[in-house]
Symmetry: C2
Subunit: 209 residues, 2 copies
Protein backbone atom coordinates (compact mmCIF):
# COMPACT_ATOMS: atom_id res chain seq x y z
CA UNK A 1 0.00 0.00 0.00
CA UNK A 2 1.17 3.52 -0.79
CA UNK A 3 2.35 5.67 2.05
CA UNK A 4 -0.26 8.08 3.39
CA UNK A 5 0.65 11.56 2.16
CA UNK A 6 0.76 14.73 4.25
CA UNK A 7 -0.84 16.60 1.39
CA UNK A 8 -3.52 15.64 -1.08
CA UNK A 9 -6.01 12.82 -0.88
CA UNK A 10 -5.10 9.46 0.65
CA UNK A 11 -5.99 6.28 -1.21
CA UNK A 12 -9.59 5.26 -0.70
CA UNK A 13 -8.58 2.03 0.97
CA UNK A 14 -5.85 3.42 3.20
CA UNK A 15 -5.73 2.14 6.74
CA UNK A 16 -7.14 5.10 8.53
CA UNK A 17 -5.99 3.94 11.95
CA UNK A 18 -2.51 4.97 10.86
CA UNK A 19 -3.72 8.51 10.27
CA UNK A 20 -5.42 8.72 13.63
CA UNK A 21 -2.60 7.09 15.56
CA UNK A 22 -0.01 9.24 13.93
CA UNK A 23 -1.98 12.41 14.57
CA UNK A 24 -2.40 11.56 18.24
CA UNK A 25 1.25 10.72 18.65
CA UNK A 26 2.40 13.88 16.98
CA UNK A 27 -0.03 15.92 19.02
CA UNK A 28 1.26 14.43 22.23
CA UNK A 29 4.85 15.16 21.26
CA UNK A 30 4.09 18.70 20.15
CA UNK A 31 2.17 19.54 23.28
CA UNK A 32 4.81 18.02 25.50
CA UNK A 33 7.53 20.03 23.80
CA UNK A 34 5.52 23.22 24.19
CA UNK A 35 4.36 22.61 27.72
CA UNK A 36 0.74 22.65 26.55
CA UNK A 37 -1.71 20.36 28.30
CA UNK A 38 -3.23 17.76 26.04
CA UNK A 39 -5.88 16.61 28.50
CA UNK A 40 -8.07 13.54 28.09
CA UNK A 41 -10.88 15.68 26.81
CA UNK A 42 -8.76 17.50 24.27
CA UNK A 43 -7.14 14.31 23.16
CA UNK A 44 -10.53 12.70 22.72
CA UNK A 45 -11.84 15.62 20.69
CA UNK A 46 -8.77 15.45 18.49
CA UNK A 47 -9.35 11.75 18.02
CA UNK A 48 -12.94 12.40 17.00
CA UNK A 49 -11.88 15.06 14.52
CA UNK A 50 -9.51 12.48 13.10
CA UNK A 51 -12.16 9.80 12.85
CA UNK A 52 -12.14 10.42 9.11
CA UNK A 53 -10.97 12.83 6.46
CA UNK A 54 -14.33 14.54 6.37
CA UNK A 55 -14.71 17.61 8.46
CA UNK A 56 -16.82 17.34 11.58
CA UNK A 57 -19.08 19.98 13.04
CA UNK A 58 -18.72 20.98 16.67
CA UNK A 59 -22.16 19.57 17.38
CA UNK A 60 -21.31 16.26 15.72
CA UNK A 61 -18.44 16.00 18.14
CA UNK A 62 -20.73 17.02 20.96
CA UNK A 63 -23.22 14.26 20.11
CA UNK A 64 -20.54 11.65 20.50
CA UNK A 65 -19.05 13.25 23.55
CA UNK A 66 -22.40 13.37 25.35
CA UNK A 67 -22.56 9.59 25.20
CA UNK A 68 -19.23 9.42 26.98
CA UNK A 69 -19.29 12.19 29.58
CA UNK A 70 -22.10 13.46 31.69
CA UNK A 71 -22.67 17.14 31.10
CA UNK A 72 -20.81 17.75 27.89
CA UNK A 73 -22.09 21.01 26.44
CA UNK A 74 -21.20 23.28 23.54
CA UNK A 75 -18.46 25.10 25.47
CA UNK A 76 -16.88 21.75 26.26
CA UNK A 77 -16.34 21.14 22.59
CA UNK A 78 -15.56 24.68 21.51
CA UNK A 79 -12.96 25.11 24.21
CA UNK A 80 -11.24 21.92 23.23
CA UNK A 81 -11.33 22.95 19.58
CA UNK A 82 -9.96 26.38 20.46
CA UNK A 83 -7.05 24.76 22.18
CA UNK A 84 -6.40 22.34 19.34
CA UNK A 85 -6.61 25.09 16.76
CA UNK A 86 -4.27 27.31 18.76
CA UNK A 87 -1.79 24.45 18.76
CA UNK A 88 -2.26 24.00 15.04
CA UNK A 89 -3.61 20.48 15.52
CA UNK A 90 -6.92 21.15 13.81
CA UNK A 91 -8.12 23.66 11.26
CA UNK A 92 -11.49 25.26 10.95
CA UNK A 93 -13.09 25.12 7.51
CA UNK A 94 -14.91 28.42 7.30
CA UNK A 95 -17.08 27.56 4.34
CA UNK A 96 -18.44 24.49 6.12
CA UNK A 97 -18.38 25.58 9.77
CA UNK A 98 -16.49 22.40 10.45
CA UNK A 99 -13.15 21.17 11.67
CA UNK A 100 -10.50 18.84 10.23
CA UNK A 101 -7.30 17.49 11.65
CA UNK A 102 -4.14 19.22 10.51
CA UNK A 103 -2.03 16.96 8.39
CA UNK A 104 1.21 18.74 9.21
CA UNK A 105 0.97 20.25 12.68
CA UNK A 106 4.67 20.74 13.39
CA UNK A 107 4.75 24.07 11.57
CA UNK A 108 2.02 26.61 12.20
CA UNK A 109 0.27 27.66 8.99
CA UNK A 110 -3.07 28.84 7.71
CA UNK A 111 -3.81 25.81 5.57
CA UNK A 112 -5.15 25.45 2.06
CA UNK A 113 -8.01 23.03 1.66
CA UNK A 114 -9.43 20.98 -1.17
CA UNK A 115 -13.02 20.03 -0.43
CA UNK A 116 -14.67 17.36 -2.51
CA UNK A 117 -18.28 18.33 -3.05
CA UNK A 118 -19.16 14.76 -3.95
CA UNK A 119 -17.78 12.67 -1.10
CA UNK A 120 -17.13 15.46 1.37
CA UNK A 121 -13.54 14.58 2.06
CA UNK A 122 -11.00 17.30 2.60
CA UNK A 123 -7.31 17.36 1.79
CA UNK A 124 -4.80 19.90 2.90
CA UNK A 125 -2.23 21.59 0.70
CA UNK A 126 0.55 23.80 1.85
CA UNK A 127 1.88 25.17 -1.36
CA UNK A 128 4.13 28.20 -1.17
CA UNK A 129 3.23 29.08 -4.75
CA UNK A 130 -0.28 29.87 -3.60
CA UNK A 131 0.93 31.95 -0.69
CA UNK A 132 3.41 33.69 -2.98
CA UNK A 133 0.73 34.55 -5.49
CA UNK A 134 -1.46 35.91 -2.73
CA UNK A 135 1.31 37.91 -1.14
CA UNK A 136 2.36 39.41 -4.46
CA UNK A 137 -1.13 40.31 -5.47
CA UNK A 138 -1.94 41.73 -2.06
CA UNK A 139 1.29 43.73 -2.06
CA UNK A 140 0.19 45.45 -5.25
CA UNK A 141 -2.84 46.66 -3.34
CA UNK A 142 -0.58 47.79 -0.50
CA UNK A 143 -1.96 45.10 1.77
CA UNK A 144 0.09 43.17 4.32
CA UNK A 145 -0.97 39.60 4.63
CA UNK A 146 -1.78 37.76 7.83
CA UNK A 147 -4.08 34.77 8.12
CA UNK A 148 -5.25 33.18 4.87
CA UNK A 149 -8.50 31.30 4.40
CA UNK A 150 -8.17 29.20 1.25
CA UNK A 151 -10.89 26.66 0.61
CA UNK A 152 -11.37 25.13 -2.79
CA UNK A 153 -14.48 23.18 -3.73
CA UNK A 154 -14.27 20.62 -6.48
CA UNK A 155 -13.94 16.93 -7.16
CA UNK A 156 -11.34 14.64 -5.63
CA UNK A 157 -9.56 12.09 -7.84
CA UNK A 158 -11.65 9.16 -6.57
CA UNK A 159 -14.94 10.84 -7.32
CA UNK A 160 -13.73 11.94 -10.75
CA UNK A 161 -12.75 8.39 -11.62
CA UNK A 162 -16.15 7.15 -10.66
CA UNK A 163 -17.91 9.83 -12.60
CA UNK A 164 -19.63 11.11 -9.51
CA UNK A 165 -20.99 14.61 -9.45
CA UNK A 166 -21.36 16.99 -6.57
CA UNK A 167 -23.95 16.01 -3.98
CA UNK A 168 -26.29 18.57 -2.50
CA UNK A 169 -24.78 21.92 -1.83
CA UNK A 170 -22.58 23.10 0.98
CA UNK A 171 -24.29 25.55 3.38
CA UNK A 172 -24.71 29.02 1.85
CA UNK A 173 -23.28 27.90 -1.41
CA UNK A 174 -26.08 29.86 -2.69
CA UNK A 175 -28.05 29.05 -5.84
CA UNK A 176 -25.83 29.95 -8.73
CA UNK A 177 -22.72 28.38 -7.30
CA UNK A 178 -20.11 26.65 -9.37
CA UNK A 179 -21.73 24.23 -11.78
CA UNK A 180 -20.49 20.63 -11.88
CA UNK A 181 -17.39 20.23 -13.99
CA UNK A 182 -18.96 18.69 -17.04
CA UNK A 183 -17.00 18.47 -20.28
CA UNK A 184 -19.21 21.12 -21.83
CA UNK A 185 -22.68 22.59 -22.03
CA UNK A 186 -25.31 23.29 -19.39
CA UNK A 187 -27.73 20.76 -18.06
CA UNK A 188 -30.57 22.74 -16.59
CA UNK A 189 -30.28 25.53 -14.11
CA UNK A 190 -31.40 26.42 -10.63
CA UNK A 191 -34.25 29.00 -10.48
CA UNK A 192 -32.78 32.44 -11.00
CA UNK A 193 -29.28 31.36 -11.84
CA UNK A 194 -28.98 33.22 -15.06
CA UNK A 195 -25.40 34.24 -14.67
CA UNK A 196 -24.30 30.71 -13.96
CA UNK A 197 -22.31 31.76 -10.92
CA UNK A 198 -18.65 31.15 -10.40
CA UNK A 199 -17.19 29.25 -13.30
CA UNK A 200 -14.87 26.34 -12.54
CA UNK A 201 -11.16 26.66 -13.11
CA UNK A 202 -10.45 24.80 -16.31
CA UNK A 203 -7.12 23.11 -16.99
CA UNK A 204 -5.49 26.38 -18.15
CA UNK A 205 -5.62 29.06 -20.75
CA UNK A 206 -9.29 29.91 -21.16
CA UNK A 207 -8.90 33.21 -19.40
CA UNK A 208 -11.36 33.31 -16.55
CA UNK A 209 -10.87 36.00 -13.88
Amino acid sequence: MKPIPNEGFPAEDHDHRHCTDRALERAAAICKRRGARLTDLRRRVLELVWSGHKPLGAYDILDTLRRERRGAAPPTVYRALDFLAAQGLVHRIESLNCFVGCSDPELPHSGQFLICTSCGSVAELNDVRIDDAIRDSAAEAGFTVGRRTIEVDGLCPHCQEQGRGPRGRPPHNIAGGTPPLSPRGPRGRPPHNIAGGTPPLSPRGDGDG
Copy 2:
Protein backbone atom coordinates in the same frame (compact mmCIF):
# COMPACT_ATOMS: atom_id res chain seq x y z
CA MET B 1 -9.25 62.78 -6.73
CA LYS B 2 -8.06 59.40 -7.96
CA PRO B 3 -10.49 57.19 -9.79
CA ILE B 4 -12.11 54.54 -7.63
CA PRO B 5 -10.53 51.20 -8.50
CA ASN B 6 -12.33 47.94 -9.18
CA GLU B 7 -9.71 46.12 -7.19
CA GLY B 8 -7.83 47.01 -4.04
CA PHE B 9 -8.68 49.64 -1.47
CA PRO B 10 -10.22 52.97 -2.47
CA ALA B 11 -8.76 56.18 -1.04
CA GLU B 12 -10.00 56.90 2.45
CA ASP B 13 -11.66 60.09 1.33
CA HIS B 14 -13.26 58.79 -1.84
CA ASP B 15 -16.79 59.88 -2.55
CA HIS B 16 -18.61 56.73 -1.67
CA ARG B 17 -21.83 57.80 -3.39
CA HIS B 18 -20.03 57.07 -6.65
CA CYS B 19 -19.46 53.50 -5.56
CA THR B 20 -23.05 52.99 -4.54
CA ASP B 21 -24.53 54.69 -7.57
CA ARG B 22 -22.29 52.82 -9.93
CA ALA B 23 -23.08 49.49 -8.31
CA LEU B 24 -26.81 50.11 -8.53
CA GLU B 25 -26.61 51.18 -12.15
CA ARG B 26 -24.55 48.21 -13.15
CA ALA B 27 -26.86 45.91 -11.26
CA ALA B 28 -29.88 47.29 -13.05
CA ALA B 29 -28.22 46.88 -16.43
CA ILE B 30 -27.04 43.36 -15.68
CA CYS B 31 -30.41 42.22 -14.44
CA LYS B 32 -32.21 43.79 -17.35
CA ARG B 33 -29.90 42.08 -19.81
CA ARG B 34 -30.44 38.73 -18.11
CA GLY B 35 -34.17 39.09 -17.60
CA ALA B 36 -33.68 38.86 -13.83
CA ARG B 37 -36.00 40.89 -11.63
CA LEU B 38 -34.20 43.47 -9.55
CA THR B 39 -37.19 44.30 -7.37
CA ASP B 40 -37.38 47.23 -4.96
CA LEU B 41 -36.52 44.96 -2.08
CA ARG B 42 -33.51 43.43 -3.79
CA ARG B 43 -32.33 46.78 -4.99
CA ARG B 44 -32.64 48.17 -1.49
CA VAL B 45 -30.70 45.28 0.01
CA LEU B 46 -27.99 45.78 -2.58
CA GLU B 47 -27.88 49.46 -1.69
CA LEU B 48 -27.49 48.60 1.98
CA VAL B 49 -24.69 46.16 1.24
CA TRP B 50 -23.03 48.97 -0.66
CA SER B 51 -23.46 51.47 2.15
CA GLY B 52 -19.76 51.04 2.80
CA HIS B 53 -16.77 48.88 2.01
CA LYS B 54 -17.19 46.95 5.22
CA PRO B 55 -19.11 43.74 5.00
CA LEU B 56 -22.57 43.69 6.52
CA GLY B 57 -24.23 40.82 8.30
CA ALA B 58 -27.67 39.66 7.22
CA TYR B 59 -29.08 40.80 10.54
CA ASP B 60 -27.51 44.24 10.20
CA ILE B 61 -29.39 44.57 6.95
CA LEU B 62 -32.51 43.24 8.61
CA ASP B 63 -32.32 45.85 11.37
CA THR B 64 -32.38 48.63 8.82
CA LEU B 65 -35.01 46.97 6.69
CA ARG B 66 -37.36 46.53 9.62
CA ARG B 67 -37.50 50.29 10.03
CA GLU B 68 -38.64 50.59 6.43
CA ARG B 69 -41.00 47.70 5.83
CA ARG B 70 -43.51 46.12 8.12
CA GLY B 71 -42.80 42.44 8.58
CA ALA B 72 -39.28 42.15 7.31
CA ALA B 73 -37.88 38.89 8.66
CA PRO B 74 -34.72 36.85 8.22
CA PRO B 75 -35.99 35.13 5.06
CA THR B 76 -36.68 38.53 3.54
CA VAL B 77 -33.03 39.37 3.73
CA TYR B 78 -31.59 35.97 2.99
CA ARG B 79 -33.72 35.56 -0.09
CA ALA B 80 -32.67 38.91 -1.43
CA LEU B 81 -29.04 38.08 -0.71
CA ASP B 82 -29.43 34.71 -2.42
CA PHE B 83 -30.69 36.45 -5.51
CA LEU B 84 -27.94 39.05 -5.46
CA ALA B 85 -25.26 36.42 -4.93
CA ALA B 86 -26.67 34.28 -7.74
CA GLN B 87 -26.39 37.31 -10.00
CA GLY B 88 -22.85 37.91 -8.81
CA LEU B 89 -23.80 41.30 -7.37
CA VAL B 90 -22.69 40.47 -3.84
CA HIS B 91 -20.23 38.03 -2.33
CA ARG B 92 -20.46 36.22 0.93
CA ILE B 93 -17.39 36.44 3.17
CA GLU B 94 -17.31 33.02 4.80
CA SER B 95 -14.85 33.87 7.52
CA LEU B 96 -17.06 36.75 8.70
CA ASN B 97 -20.57 35.50 7.90
CA CYS B 98 -21.07 38.75 6.09
CA PHE B 99 -21.73 40.14 2.66
CA VAL B 100 -19.99 42.72 0.46
CA GLY B 101 -20.88 44.22 -2.86
CA CYS B 102 -19.07 42.77 -5.83
CA SER B 103 -16.74 45.29 -7.38
CA ASP B 104 -16.83 43.70 -10.81
CA PRO B 105 -20.19 42.00 -11.31
CA GLU B 106 -20.18 41.73 -15.10
CA LEU B 107 -18.16 38.51 -15.03
CA PRO B 108 -19.10 35.75 -12.61
CA HIS B 109 -16.21 34.75 -10.37
CA SER B 110 -15.47 33.40 -6.93
CA GLY B 111 -13.73 36.49 -5.62
CA GLN B 112 -10.57 36.96 -3.62
CA PHE B 113 -10.85 39.19 -0.60
CA LEU B 114 -8.47 41.28 1.45
CA ILE B 115 -9.91 41.93 4.88
CA CYS B 116 -8.35 44.60 7.05
CA THR B 117 -8.42 43.40 10.63
CA SER B 118 -7.94 46.94 11.87
CA CYS B 119 -10.62 48.96 10.12
CA GLY B 120 -12.74 46.09 8.85
CA SER B 121 -12.82 47.20 5.25
CA VAL B 122 -12.70 44.64 2.50
CA ALA B 123 -11.23 44.88 -0.98
CA GLU B 124 -11.69 42.46 -3.80
CA LEU B 125 -8.94 41.08 -5.99
CA ASN B 126 -9.42 39.00 -9.06
CA ASP B 127 -5.93 37.92 -9.84
CA VAL B 128 -5.51 35.05 -12.27
CA ARG B 129 -2.10 34.32 -10.77
CA ILE B 130 -3.80 33.21 -7.60
CA ASP B 131 -6.29 31.07 -9.45
CA ASP B 132 -3.46 29.64 -11.55
CA ALA B 133 -1.44 28.73 -8.51
CA ILE B 134 -4.44 27.06 -6.95
CA ARG B 135 -5.35 25.18 -10.08
CA ASP B 136 -1.79 23.96 -10.58
CA SER B 137 -1.37 22.88 -7.02
CA ALA B 138 -4.77 21.20 -6.94
CA ALA B 139 -4.04 19.43 -10.22
CA GLU B 140 -0.99 17.84 -8.65
CA ALA B 141 -3.33 16.32 -6.09
CA GLY B 142 -5.63 15.17 -8.91
CA PHE B 143 -8.28 17.61 -7.83
CA THR B 144 -10.55 19.52 -10.21
CA VAL B 145 -11.30 22.99 -9.03
CA GLY B 146 -14.73 24.57 -8.71
CA ARG B 147 -15.63 27.39 -6.36
CA ARG B 148 -12.78 29.08 -4.51
CA THR B 149 -13.05 30.75 -1.11
CA ILE B 150 -10.07 33.04 -0.72
CA GLU B 151 -10.10 35.43 2.21
CA VAL B 152 -6.96 37.10 3.40
CA ASP B 153 -6.73 38.88 6.72
CA GLY B 154 -4.16 41.59 7.20
CA LEU B 155 -3.69 45.34 7.22
CA CYS B 156 -4.87 47.72 4.53
CA PRO B 157 -2.55 50.50 3.35
CA HIS B 158 -4.36 53.20 5.33
CA CYS B 159 -4.11 51.33 8.59
CA GLN B 160 -0.47 50.50 7.99
CA GLU B 161 0.34 54.18 7.41
CA GLN B 162 -1.30 55.12 10.63
CA GLY B 163 0.45 52.40 12.55
CA ARG B 164 -2.81 50.85 13.55
CA GLY B 165 -2.91 47.27 14.68
CA PRO B 166 -5.65 44.72 14.38
CA ARG B 167 -8.72 45.41 16.49
CA GLY B 168 -10.45 42.64 18.36
CA ARG B 169 -10.60 39.37 16.57
CA PRO B 170 -12.86 38.19 13.81
CA PRO B 171 -15.33 35.47 14.88
CA HIS B 172 -13.68 32.08 15.36
CA ASN B 173 -10.29 33.49 14.65
CA ILE B 174 -9.40 31.44 17.54
CA ALA B 175 -6.75 32.32 20.12
CA GLY B 176 -3.43 31.75 18.49
CA GLY B 177 -4.35 33.38 15.22
CA THR B 178 -1.96 35.41 13.16
CA PRO B 179 -0.10 37.86 15.36
CA PRO B 180 -0.07 41.56 14.42
CA LEU B 181 2.51 42.35 11.78
CA SER B 182 5.04 44.04 13.97
CA PRO B 183 8.54 44.72 12.63
CA ARG B 184 9.97 42.12 14.95
CA GLY B 185 9.66 40.37 18.29
CA PRO B 186 6.65 39.23 20.29
CA ARG B 187 4.70 41.44 22.62
CA GLY B 188 2.95 39.09 24.97
CA ARG B 189 0.82 36.16 24.04
CA PRO B 190 -2.74 34.96 24.43
CA PRO B 191 -3.23 32.19 27.05
CA HIS B 192 -2.23 28.88 25.53
CA ASN B 193 -0.84 30.25 22.33
CA ILE B 194 2.52 28.64 22.50
CA ALA B 195 2.81 27.83 18.86
CA GLY B 196 2.06 31.36 17.83
CA GLY B 197 -0.53 30.30 15.28
CA THR B 198 -0.39 31.09 11.61
CA PRO B 199 2.57 33.26 10.84
CA PRO B 200 2.06 36.27 8.57
CA LEU B 201 3.30 36.22 5.01
CA SER B 202 6.45 38.30 5.00
CA PRO B 203 7.59 40.23 1.94
CA ARG B 204 9.30 37.19 0.38
CA GLY B 205 12.06 34.73 0.78
CA ASP B 206 11.94 33.70 4.43
CA GLY B 207 10.56 30.30 3.57
CA ASP B 208 7.31 29.99 5.40
CA GLY B 209 4.90 27.30 4.22
